[in-house]
């Protein structure tokens, strides 16, 4: 026994690199077969790898791939082969003709994961080609499969809503999700926000215009007189202006310095609003306008500042989850 041990160890060491090389060869062949859309060949190679070197790192990967492939063996791997052939193509090669041909094939696929995953792929691919009606049809076909998992149902519904939104507007997409009881999804929040964005832009621009109009109205005839200019700029107002300028700058530079442009706009616009409000207030005082007019200018200045901030963030794409 003692004499045999060195021989056994020598054999083991001699065998190990060869076994590792064989495992690497099988792993490479299996991966290539998957890429070519030949899952049956891949399964055979992965099985051989697990048998040849069961404790190796590559065997672990092979077991995982086997599990995935064998869960999609319906139709003797033919549907999977067709699915992989489309999935593994770059988007530019997923043309309308290819998608239409694949869609015709999918209709004949047996029940199972591959059919479901094929409809998901088709829905997204049609959406990417700006074909929302065909995308809707694909997502509906996915939803119609009797064996959907719960996460798939949510994905199919949200895909359908995005397709509906692309065809009929974000409100229609959001309504579809509301009807399906999926108001808590982020897609519903996004579509709702999109639906409100247009009216809110108009409202924000209106506040800014209203504020400018109010300043001109209360300060009419007195707005740019030397007396008003002198009255408008007190130490307190300069301090407020500095605050309006510095806070957005500090937020930008400390939180995220590459959103500087957005916050610079908020800072500059905020200072301009403050200056206009000061001028308007001083002009109103100079012509002894009613206090209510001065209060209205002050109130509109606050609203205008909020509107400016909203428009700046909206323009920069950084206004998320605010309205839904």
């Amino acid at each position: 026994m003692t004499r045999r041990l060195p021989i056994a160890l020598a054999l083991l060491f001699a065998a190990t690199p060869a076994r590792a090389d064989e495992a690497a060869d099988l792993s490479r062949e299996a991966a290539a077969a998957e890429r070519r859309g030949e899952p049956a060949v891949a399964v055979e190679r992965y099985r051989a790898l697990v048998a040849a070197d069961p404790t190796s790192r590559l065997a672990g990967r092979a077991r995982r791939r086997l599990e995935w492939l064998e869960a999609r063996a319906e139709g003797d791997y033919r549907p999977l082969s067709r699915y992989l052939a489309l999935r593994e193509r770059p988007p530019a090669e997923r043309t309308r003709e290819r998608l239409a041909a694949f869609e015709a094939e999918v209709r004949s696929f047996p029940e199972g994961r591959v059919a479901r995953e094929s409809w998901a792929l088709l829905g997204e691919a049609w959406l990417a080609l700006d074909e929302p009606a065909r995308a809707e049809a694909a997502f509906l076909a996915w939803l119609d499969r009797p064996d959907l998992e719960s996460s798939e149902r949510v994905s199919a519904q949200t895909g359908l809503a995005r397709a509906r939104a692309a065809r009929a507007g974000p409100a229609a997409g959001a309504e579809l999700l509301r009807a399906a009881g999926l108001e808590a999804t982020s897609t519903h929040a996004t579509l709702t926000r999109e639906a409100r964005r247009g009216p809110l832009r108009v409202a924000a621009a209106s506040f800014l215009a209203l504020f400018l109009g109010a300043v001109l109205f209360v300060g009419r005839r007195a707005l740019l007189t030397r007396d008003v200019l002198a009255r408008a700029f007190s130490l307190g107002r300069l301090a407020a202006a500095a605050h309006v300028l510095v806070v957005p700058w500090a937020l930008a530079s400390h939180y995220d310095h590459d959103v500087g442009d957005t916050f610079a706009l908020v800072a500059a616009g905020g200072a301009a609003i403050l200056a206009l409000a000061s001028l308007g207030g001083a002009a109103a005082s100079a012509r002894e306008a009613p206090r209510t007019q001065r209060a209205a200018v002050a109130g509109l200045a606050v609203l205008a500042y909020g509107a400016l901030g909203w428009l700046a963030l909206d323009h920069a794409g950084q206004l998320f989850s605010f309205l839904a």
Partner: protein, 485 residues
């Protein structure tokens, strides 16, 4: 939802407070005894030790208490979850595991071996099953931590390369289920391997975080490089719980994170908070200006590739362009390109990105690109913009802008006789959870881009590399090329 929109301002305010920036924790007054720990001795706030058989030292962050594990189990709370693996030492002979338990559990052990059934049956080391003891940590997070968080960390060393091991963590009487993990090929080996790349999982919109992890698990990748922003607010423990507890159908993200080591860069939302630092084990080699016990930036080798993880959220430009840049240069200078022809770098903020929400970080570009150029880095993997983007190969700067290098078919670099690329490819692949952004391909340095939730798989075998980007939601391929150097 309103609190989400205010969070950037909360982040900004947090970052304005230097004392809080690195903590994300309540201040410990030293007057109370952490749950489960004997009140006889004052709690130790930090622990530093060399795990058995490891050639490196592990140092915990400074928190409410840190101690070597015992066999104590929380009698009232049997929970043991968030099991996830990473590397703090050589990838071909070590791995580290972190997990969370009930507050009074101090057991921080691991049982492991190559025989799954033996590990499943074992209650203690013996026969083919080996054991190691780790350390335990306790803290009360500034936000969302409830009565506190009890973490455990254990390091296993002295393993055989290229081998699948099975392990379970916990302690006598209460063990996790058995997970498997594989060691890497030896450094310089040409054995094939693959890894996944994702980022910006925060918020888990459309449940895309667990969906992406399930797809990477099914692909069988060996490990994952994550470019930052795991959570919305790094100091919020509730966000970390959401990160670790995400699931889709019968798949939990820890099914994958416990098997495939997770190597992460700090993102602006992670804030280098202690919650983050305490919950992960990465290589710890403190260099000039580095915080987080040396985990702020680090590198590791896997087979014939070298990986560098950087922290670009440093407010101090002297560190960004000084200490960290010097460390980067020294680290890359040590790489023997004949044995490790591939170099990958990952950090959070892209400095090549085209008309998306965040502009290219030109200060970062000026600080780091000359070093990437000098050492012919192959790929730079980033996030921050929640899109998919791949640049043309880039080498050199003119007026602060990147110069497009010699480009082969499908936008890939060309290679010289030494196998060095004509330029570095800059990838933005993030948004498996965060809100999607718009993006353009119309910049000179941009090769392709899409507003999708992407993940990327690199398959490396010797001097050949296959790169494939996928849409996590549909599973469809977005981009692919193969390189041979």
């Amino acid at each position: 939802m309103l609190h989400r929109s205010l969070a950037p301002f909360a982040l900004a305010l947090l970052s304005l407070l230097p004392a809080c920036e690195e903590t994300g924790l309540m201040r410990f007054d030293g007057g109370t005894t952490p749950p489960g720990e004997d009140g006889g001795e004052p709690a130790q706030r930090q622990i530093s030790y060399t795990p058995e058989g490891c050639g490196y030292t592990v140092t915990s962050p400074e928190l409410e208490s840190a101690a070597m594990g015992t066999d104590v189990q929380d009698p009232d709370n049997p929970v043991l979850h968030h099991v996830h693996a990473s590397w703090a030492g050589p990838t071909d002979s070590t791995f580290a595991v972190n997990w969370e338990t009930g507050l009074r559990t101090l057991a921080s052990r691991i049982l492991y071996g190559t025989d799954r059934a033996a590990v499943e049956a074992a209650e203690a080391p013996g026969g083919d099953v080996l054991g190691r003891n780790g350390h335990t940590m306790f803290y009360r997070a500034m936000i969302g931590g409830g009565p506190g968080t009890r973490l455990h960390e254990v390091h296993v060393c002295g393993l055989e390369p290229e081998t699948t091991y099975y392990y379970k963590v916990g302690g006598p009487g209460r063990w996790s289920r058995v997970y498997e993990i594989a060691t890497a090929p030896p450094v310089g080996s040409t054995q094939p391997f693959s890894f996944g790349v994702t980022g910006d999982s925060r918020n888990n919109l459309e449940n895309s975080w667990p969906i992406s992890q399930r797809r990477l698990d099914e692909a069988g990748v060996d490990f994952q490089v994550f470019s930052g922003d795991a959570v919305f607010l790094g100091a919020n423990q509730a966000d970390w719980r959401q990160f670790f507890e995400a699931s889709v159908d019968d798949f939990d993200v820890t099914d994958f994170l416990a098997r495939a080591p997770f190597m992460m860069a700090n993102g602006n939302h992670d804030q280098l908070a202690l919650n983050y630092v305490a919950q992960f084990a990465f290589p710890q080699e403190v260099s000039e200006g580095e915080r987080a016990q040396g985990m702020e930036w680090y590198s590791f080798d896997y087979g014939n590739a070298h990986f560098v993880i950087l922290n670009d959220t440093v407010n101090d430009s002297a560190v960004l362009a000084g200490g960290q840049a010097r460390w980067l240069r020294e680290d890359l200078a040590r790489v023997d390109r004949t044995r490790q022809p591939w170099i990958f770098v990952s950090h959070h903020r892209p400095f090549y990105t085209c008309r998306s929400t965040h502009s290219p970080d030109t200060a970062l570009r000026a600080a780091w690109q000359p070093i990437f150029d000098e050492f012919s880095v192959d790929f730079v993997l980033t996030g921050h913009n929640h899109v998919y983007e791949r640049s043309t190969p880039i080498r050199g700067l003119e007026g602060g802008e990147g110069v497009v290098a010699a480009t082969g078919t499908n936008g890939v670099p060309t290679y010289d006789m030494a196998g060095l690329p004509s330029g570095t490819v800059y990838v933005v692949a993030a948004g498996v959870g965060a809100e999607l952004y718009e993006v353009s391909s119309e910049c000179t340095t941009s090769f392709t881009s899409m507003s999708v939730r992407p993940y990327v798989i690199f398959e490396v075998e010797g001097r050949t590399l296959t790169y494939t980007a996928y849409d996590a939601m549909s599973g469809g391929m977005l981009d692919q090329f193969t390189l041979t150097k």
